[in-house]
């Protein structure tokens, strides 16, 4: 008794004095799953694999025995049996059914559908199909998939199951083209079970534009996941997929990143079909082929490879398809990710395909003999193979006046060179080779720098960093404030940095010019590659002056020369000297672009006759000039 009182007092004091940990439940930790634990333990986990193998063996045996039993049943039934034999067979059937229920319960509990159901074949029993679907799609947990059971008015009535994914389908199409005709179908005589019911239904009752028969659950999953509806017929080992896509998507808008003054203003959206349609509106060739290749193990998104068959090089197509088909990955969401998988030098910062939002550019390059790759879900299409010169063309060049185009092209190339070399040239000349500057300029630079406490290299790095800061910040600020921050940042940072004598004014000019010059490069990724290389050139200039810059430039050119974009050298008409297609650095008039680019090795080399404007020979009154 007293012990308990003392005990109480002690515990009372303890609770008052001693810190008690708060009585919260244990926090949620993301611990490893069973599979991972076994993997970490080191051994290749034999148990689940053996387990599954046993399961599969068991099911195989079960199937074999069922098949044997069914054959015996058919033989018995054909040979006019008596009730005894019938009874026995019924018992046998019952056993089989019970065994099957047992198996199903087991497998649903253990969720061992990996590999088992993906390659499963559609069974003739509709409830079985429904069970398989429930396992695949985690029904009734997953509220996205809708299963609708109907019966159609055949003799005898056949149960039909309609499966679709809510949100991806167009409800009106399902009601009008599937449910309506099926449910209000007239009596169809002479339809026997199991004998091409599906064909008859498809031909006579389904007024949908695209319907196809599938036999395995792989295609069924692909269809349901992309927005088609699938019809299962009781008694038929096949299903029908009907095109019902109707999900919400962005409408065709102006290009966000490749604006042009003159040229079509359509841009790709995220829907693959809309994109291929846009290309087809530009290029009405009959042999423009669109091949669809499914990508990704966990969700088969579609990838479209488009080319003009009579022009393109066969080996190129084979290679592209081979590369796309032989990648194994979880899921590919963007065409940029796909590019990283299939390009030859993924470690090189230079883009080896052209990524564009505009269908007119795609159409022009397809007509030259290139290949376009589009992915469902990404508004950027990729064109390959390309050279460095293609990356510097902009969409405006094709339709504007020749002199203007060529002047702008020269400006673009000069500014590309400037954005690569200007800070390093300034650093090299002002610290190593001061004799190259005119005396007055040099004296004013020295005067400006006299009160700056940092060496030139630190000034350059500081200004580069702040420029990148402004740029990155400006990208992420919500729309209205974006331009304000740009002006504020640039003006105030630059101006006050100069006034506070942290940088010299000529440094601000150099960095601002460099940054602006980088924006005139039409391809964003090429500009980023140049930005990275600029940094290396600055380091080289810091250590060895113009000699370092020259070495760096030489190695830069050598690396570019050894780069290949899908088998085509990156500096193609210039480096291995080939016949150009008329549009390398400067653009020749469209009437004189006789050949396709030689380095693409197309099947048909001639684009147009050399006398492409033969109205010149005839006068407008009809009589010919000699």
């Amino acid at each position: 008794m007293s012990k308990s009182a003392i005990h109480n007092i002690i515990t009372g004091i303890k609770t008052i004095l001693v810190y008690q940990p708060p009585c919260h439940p244990a926090p949620f930790t993301l611990s490893e799953t069973q599979q991972e634990k076994e993997k970490i333990d080191g051994d290749f986990p034999p148990m689940p694999v053996a387990e599954r193998r046993r399961e599969l063996d068991f099911m195989l045996n079960y199937a074999k025995s069922t098949a044997i039993f069914m054959e015996k049943l058919i033989r018995d039934l054909r040979s006019k049996p008596n009730t005894e034999v019938l009874e026995k067979n019924k018992l046998g059937l019952g056993e089989i059914a019970a065994e099957w229920a047992e198996i199903k319960k087991n497998t649903i509990e253990n969720h061992s559908i990996d590999g088992m159901y993906n390659n499963a074949v559609i069974s003739a029993n509709i409830t079985e199909n429904q069970h398989i679907l429930e396992s695949l799609y985690q029904l009734p947990l997953n509220k996205d998939v809708v299963i609708r059971n109907i019966t159609i008015a055949t003799q005898p009535k056949i149960k039909v199951m309609l499966v679709f994914m809510d949100g991806l389908i167009d409800k009106k199409i399902i009601n009008m083209t599937i449910l309506d005709p099926l449910m209000f179908m007239k009596d169809l005589q002479e339809k026997l079970q199991g004998e091409d019911l599906i064909g008859a239904v498809m031909e006579q009752c389904l007024p949908s534009g695209q319907a196809s028969r599938v036999g395995g659950f792989k295609e069924v999953q692909q269809a349901i996941n992309t927005g088609d509806a699938v019809l299962f017929f009781d008694g038929s080992p096949e299903a029908v997929t009907v095109e019902t896509k109707g999900y919400e998507h962005r409408s065709i808008d102006r290009p966000a990143t490749e604006q042009s003054v003159r040229g079509s203003q359509n841009a790709f959206t995220e829907v693959l079909r809309v994109n291929t349609a846009l290309i087809r509106t530009m290029l009405h060739a009959s042999d423009l082929v669109t091949e669809m290749i499914p990508l990704g193990a966990r969700g088969h998104s579609n990838c479209a490879v488009m080319y003009i068959k009579s022009i393109v090089n066969e080996e190129l197509i084979e290679e592209v398809k081979r590369r796309i088909k032989n990648i194994s990955t979880d899921i590919i969401t963007d065409s940029g990710v796909l590019e990283h998988f299939i390009e030859e030098s993924p470690r090189s910062p230079f883009p080896q395909t052209l990524s564009t939002e505009r269908p007119d550019r795609v159409a022009i390059h397809l007509a030259e003999g290139r290949v376009a790759i589009l992915i469902d879900g990404s508004p950027f299409g990729h064109i390959l193979p390309i050279s460095l010169f293609t990356l510097m063309h902009s969409a405006d060049d094709f339709s504007l006046n020749l002199y203007y185009t060529n002047t702008l092209r020269i400006v673009r190339w000069l500014s590309a060179l400037l954005s690569l070399l200007m800070p390093s040239l300034y650093l090299a000349i002002s610290t190593f080779h001061q004799e190259a500057l005119p005396t007055e300029l040099l004296l004013s630079i020295a005067a400006a720098r006299a009160q700056v406490p940092f060496p030139t290299i630190l000034e350059i790095l500081f200004m580069e960093f702040s420029f990148e800061l402004i740029r990155e910040g400006g990208l992420r600020i919500p729309g209205i404030l974006g331009s304000t921050i740009g002006i504020v940042g640039a003006l105030i940072l630059g101006q006050t940095a100069v006034a506070a004598k942290i940088v010299s004014p000529i440094m601000v000019i150099v960095i601002a010019l460099t940054g602006l010059a980088a924006y005139s490069i039409p391809d964003y990724r090429l500009a980023s590659a140049f930005r990275v290389s600029r940094f290396i050139f600055i380091l080289l200039a810091m250590s060895m002056g113009l000699v370092g810059v020259a070495c760096g430039l030489l190695i830069f050119i050598a690396v570019l020369c050894s780069l290949k974009s899908f088998g085509m050298p990156y500096l193609a008409p210039l480096a291995p000297k080939t016949v150009s297609g008329g549009d390398v650095i400067l653009r020749t008039p469209a009437a004189q672009q006789r050949r396709r680019p030689d380095e693409l090795n197309t099947k048909d080399e001639i684009r147009q006759k050399s006398n492409s404007r033969f109205w010149i020979n005839k006068s407008s009154k009809g009589d010919e000039n000699s």
Binding site: F432, L546, V547, C551, I557, A558, V559, C561, P576
Partner: protein, 367 residues
């Protein structure tokens, strides 16, 4: 043995490759030495020593038309294994020493002109590593880069020559016979080794498409370099005269330093450094590549890339060996004699053997 090259180089590649191997000697001090020997008639010896390697190339093309294979197999068939080893070893020594010599001279001149306070070994290592990187990327990258750099270097050189027009003194070219015509012929014959880069076309025969490509490339490049060199030497004599011209260590650099149009266009030689360094690096890389290629052919190595770092180390160490610039220039003179053997002796021997064998039995022609 798996061939190290597939025949993919074309005319432009051949021109560019030989151009970059041959041209840097224009920038270095050979011109001053030659000017001292020949005075105003130097252009004649340039014509001569450009024409002779052309003859050697034509002879070797004849040989390659009749006998199949790369240079080692050709020599083996014509003069036996020992002869083949001798010939190929001589060529290896020629090209690797050419590479080391140009490396050393370039490092020296960088110290003189562009970066007077740089550490000498740093310059050597820097150039050697850059040349090694270019060699590592392969012959195609090398020739393509050369064909991109070539027009800029020609343009730069021509601009410098034209900008010096206010300084021309026409009478410097007279008396036009200089030190004598025979002297010029003598210098020309002795100096055929200056064009040793042309032999690289022959040694890399498997890399080219066919012998027609080699012939055309050889014609073009020898005429380009001959014209360029003759223009250069004429302008150099016009501007400086023989007496002052023979004093200068770096003729081209001095020419670039002299440019003065008005108070704004002067002192532009720093901008010329970029082109000059690029050509030099390509020369070192090109000679090194050919040397390594011949080593690979000789030792029957399956690939070229792994021995590139070794080649770089060898060339850098060779370049650091001479103790001063005078000794280096002497080595330069002796090396020309070695190059002469490579141009005169070996093609003549191979040509003679081919003729003899052809007379003995009719070989089927193969390319």
């Amino acid at each position: 043995m798996k061939e190290l090259h597939i025949g993919k180089l074309g005319i432009a590649d051949g021109i560019a490759l030989v151009f970059v191997i041959v041209m840097p000697r224009v920038f270095l001090s050979t011109i001053s030495n030659l000017l001292e020997q020949d005075a105003q008639i130097l252009w004649l010896s340039m014509v001569i020593y450009s024409a002779i390697p052309l003859g050697a190339v034509l002879m070797m093309i004849y040989v390659h038309n009749r006998v199949e294979g790369n240079i080692f197999m050709v020599c083996q068939q014509l003069i036996g294994k020992i002869g083949a080893w001798l010939v190929v070893l001589t060529y290896i020594v020629m090209f690797i020493s050419n590479s080391a010599l140009i490396l050393r001279l370039y490092a020296e001149y960088t110290l003189q002109t562009a970066l007077p306070r740089v550490e000498f070994q740093l310059a050597i290592v820097w150039y050697a590593v850059s040349a090694g990187i270019i060699c590592y990327l392969g012959i195609e990258a090398l020739t393509r880069t050369s064909s991109i750099v070539m027009p800029f270097s020609i343009g730069g050189l021509v601009i410098v020559l034209l900008l010096l027009m206010p300084f021309y003194i026409g009478y410097n070219l007279t008396p036009w016979q200089g030190n004598g015509i025979m002297q010029a012929v003598h210098t020309g014959i002795r100096g055929a080794g200056y064009n040793v880069g042309v032999l690289s076309l022959i040694l890399l025969t498997p890399a080219f498409q066919n012998t027609r490509t080699i012939k055309k490339a050889a014609f073009y490049v020898i005429s380009y370099t001959a014209i360029l060199r003759i223009c250069f030497i004429l302008v150099y004599i016009l501007v400086f005269g023989v007496a002052v011209g023979a004093e200068k260590t770096m003729p081209l650099f001095e020419l670039a330093r002299l440019v003065y149009l008005n108070q704004y266009i002067q002192r532009i030689e720093a901008l010329f450094i970029i082109v000059w360094v690029m050509i030099g690096l390509l020369a070192i890389a090109g000679s090194l590549y050919i040397g390594l290629y011949l080593i690979a052919v000789l030792l029957k190595l399956p690939a070229l890339r792994p021995i590139v770092p070794l080649g770089v180390i060898i060339v850098a160490n060779l370049a650091m060996m001479p103790p001063d610039i005078g000794y280096t220039l002497q080595v330069d003179q002796h090396l020309i004699v070695l190059f002469d053997i490579g141009i005169y002796a070996f093609p003549a021997i191979l040509f003679a053997m081919t003729l003899w064998k052809k007379r003995r039995k009719r070989l089927c022609t193969s390319v």
